[in-house]
Amino acid sequence: MPKFVFLWTDLVLWLVVATVIAYVVHVRRNADLRKTWQHVLHDAPAMSAAVVLIAFITIALLDSIHFRPRLAAVPGAAADASEAYATRTVSPLDLLLRHAVEAREKTYSVPLAYWSFQRETAVVDGREVRELPRLAHGGSHLQDPAREWKPDLLKRSLAGIAGGLVSALLLTFAIAALRDRTAGGWSQSLGEMLRGQTEIPWRAIVLTTAVLSMFVGWLAAVWPVYHPFGTDRTGNDVLFQALKSVRTAVVIGSLSTIATLPLAIALGVLAGYFKGWVDDVIQYFYTVLSAIPPILLVAAFVLLINVYIDRNAENFATGVERAEFRLFLLCLILGITGWATLCRLLRAETLKISELEYVQAAHAFGVSHWRIMRRHILPNVMHLVLIVAVLDFSALVLYEAVLSYVGVGVDPNSSSFGSMINLARSEMSRDPVVWWNLATAFTFMLALVLAANLFADAVREAFDPRARAFRPRRFRLKEAT
């Protein structure tokens, strides 16, 4: 039995997942909410984005269970010797991609290469020559790399992509068959799906899944023997770093957003409901907070936690625990410094709602303040909370990169897109250019943020009818009279 390590970030992330599931159950039961969410479900870009987001979140969750594997007992040790655990904390993702962690090269290598990046002196036929030595792991299965490399790569890539395509096709048929019960006939169901005539945009979903699964198939074929995105300065696999960074990005995006909610909701509703001096005090607080330039405020808080962590170094058994605690505190800081915007929105909305007749009626019936706020006001401002929360996610993922650059971001030891980009900055001025680190970070970050943005747009459109007017159309609708 491995020794589980409970990290704050993991716990909160799983709590978020549980909350989302509970919310989904709640939406299914509630007719109004169901109808609103159907706007999102019927939106093709949003559903494509959802497929990509689910892939990213799966990676993040696989990387969010941490444990220290039990070491094999030393031969000859006493039977009752205490169990020994590895000093490294690992996650299921680490175990799944063990080959990528172990296939460590000396330094940089070009994506998919079998040769090293740096020339070394070797003795060939008694003479010293400078040559590019072969990598220790990448392409090490080839007998004669100069001749076999290209065909091998081509064969593997084709097989992998074909495998991905076949599984995507199988999925398409499976969905068509499942829809068969409601849409008359199997082939008609498939036809409707492919012509884009279904209510839920199955065509977009299936296409996105197909692209994703072809990518995964290609990786499955190529990754075991090559480094598909090259290696970084210390010889680590870049793709593995990128996948580890996904978790950091998801944690920052979701945890920081969650951290803003308690303060923003409580203070916003209180200020809008009680008005008067309560409103004045709360407004004063958030004006002070938003008057300080955000980066300075975050920096001041981060200096504070650095000192705290340094003083309490003995509380953290492993490096991962320390890095994760820092990440957790960083999310809290982003929450504490970022609640003003949502609070202002909620205050304005509460001001409006608390003047409405049904609230007046509740007052007349003698309902307590607390109950009015909880039962009558809070449910009617939740759509704002949801909109701001999904919009904030992508902004925070981008913000993390800037914070890491200024030097107040995540722990230098944990991988994040920000630290990948920072390293890439000096790599771009090398000759030959080391471009794959930046390109990988760019691709993954763009995919994540773009998907989050598209999904957030659909949610906003669903919950804020005014936003629907801003939706771009490819063709002019018949102008309403």
């Binding site: 004063y284 008057a291 504070l304 981008l398 980009i421 900055r425 970050m445 763009l446 609708l477």
Partner: protein
């Protein structure tokens, strides 16, 4: 109007007091004056005497909040907090912990910051509005659709990518402009061209999308239909009526951007080696120089408040219906 401005100034002073309290607490929650002294003297083994002398020279030898040894009002006045905060209100910034005159430093750095941030703000807003107008003019067409798609993609890319790629492509590969640096005089254009272009491009996506939404909000209103039914051409409606009415939300947005324009973009200044206020802040954070951080936070919040006041007053010019009271 005068009454309104006076009230706003009173509130502004209250906010500044709050900002001061917060910065002071945050900074001294982790750093004792002894630590600061040790950091600044720099030597490995520092005697307690040297620390005391350093603290006495810079006024760090008093208690933080409350001086129990003093009499009467001096109980509050003879403290670091009082010393450090009150003189900021008279714009007397004093010396940094490393002994340089802060006001002099700031005055030296403002031109560099303004040279980058001023044009950047103007051009960003201008290009954002221009692009948004284009999209709105051709609304519900392929141009609008793909223009918006491009906007969403552009705002999903981190600013750091734009900077690194532009430096690599224009600076290193094409050698059109120097990579980074700053010289006074006409040559400045060469150094500022790249950061300006990158700054505009990276904000274009989010700005244009925002302005497009603001303009579309106006396009849907009744007076636009009336204008059209009078037989006005679409450009006349758009520029003469819609744009004029959209100024109000646009102004609010620009007002919120103003304080950042002055403080300078920290990222841009340090990437392009521009010796402005942003670089100053980064160095101060790295060196834990409280005096500088404190001053910059104060200046930043002062500008934030001024920008909001200026926005409010500008409303009255843009929209005659707005009366400040």
């Amino acid at each position: 109007m005068l009454n309104y401005i006076l009230r706003r100034i009173g509130y502004a002073l209250l906010i500044l007091v709050g900002v001061n309290l917060l910065t002071f607490t945050l900074f001294f929650a982790v750093n004792s004056p002894d630590n600061i002294a040790r950091l600044n003297i720099g030597a490995k083994r520092v005697s307690q005497d040297a620390i005391e002398k350093w603290k006495a020279e810079r006024g760090y030898d008093k208690p933080l909040w409350f001086n129990s040894k003093a009499e009467g009002f001096d109980k509050v006045r003879q403290t670091i907090f009082y010393d450090r905060s009150l003189r900021l209100f008279t714009l007397n910034f004093g010396t940094s912990d490393s002994g340089r005159d802060i006001a002099h430093e700031i005055a030296n750095r403002i031109p560099a910051s303004l040279a980058l941030a001023g044009p950047m703000l103007l051009l960003t807003v201008f290009s954002g509005i221009a692009f948004a107008l284009l999209l709105v003019f051709f609304r519900a067409s392929y141009l609008d659709f793909w223009g918006t798609v491009v906007c969403v993609v552009m705002m999903s890319i981190s600013s750091l990518f734009y900077i690194i790629m532009a430096q690599w492509f224009f600076g290193k590969t094409l050698k059109l402009v120097p990579l980074s640096g700053f010289v006074p005089g006409l040559d400045l254009v060469k150094f500022l061209a790249l950061p300006l272009v990158v700054g505009i491009v990276f904000q274009l996506g989010s700005e244009a999308r925002l302005f497009r939404a603001m303009l579309l909000e106006e396009v849907g209103k009744d007076y636009v239909r009336t204008a059209r039914s009078k037989g006005l051409s679409e450009p006349a409606v758009l520029f003469g009526h819609v744009l004029r009415n959209a100024w109000l939300p646009i102004l609010t947005h620009v007002g919120a951007l103003l304080p950042y324009a002055f403080l300078g973009s920290i990222v841009f200044e340090s990437f392009f080696g521009i010796p402005g206020l942003g670089t100053y802040v980064v160095e101060a954070i790295a060196g834990q120089d409280f005096a500088i951080v404190h001053t910059m936070v104060f200046l930043g919040s002062l500008l934030y408040i001024l920008a909001y006041l200026a926005t409010d007053i500008a409303y009255t010019f843009v929209d005659p219906r707005v009366r400040l009271a």
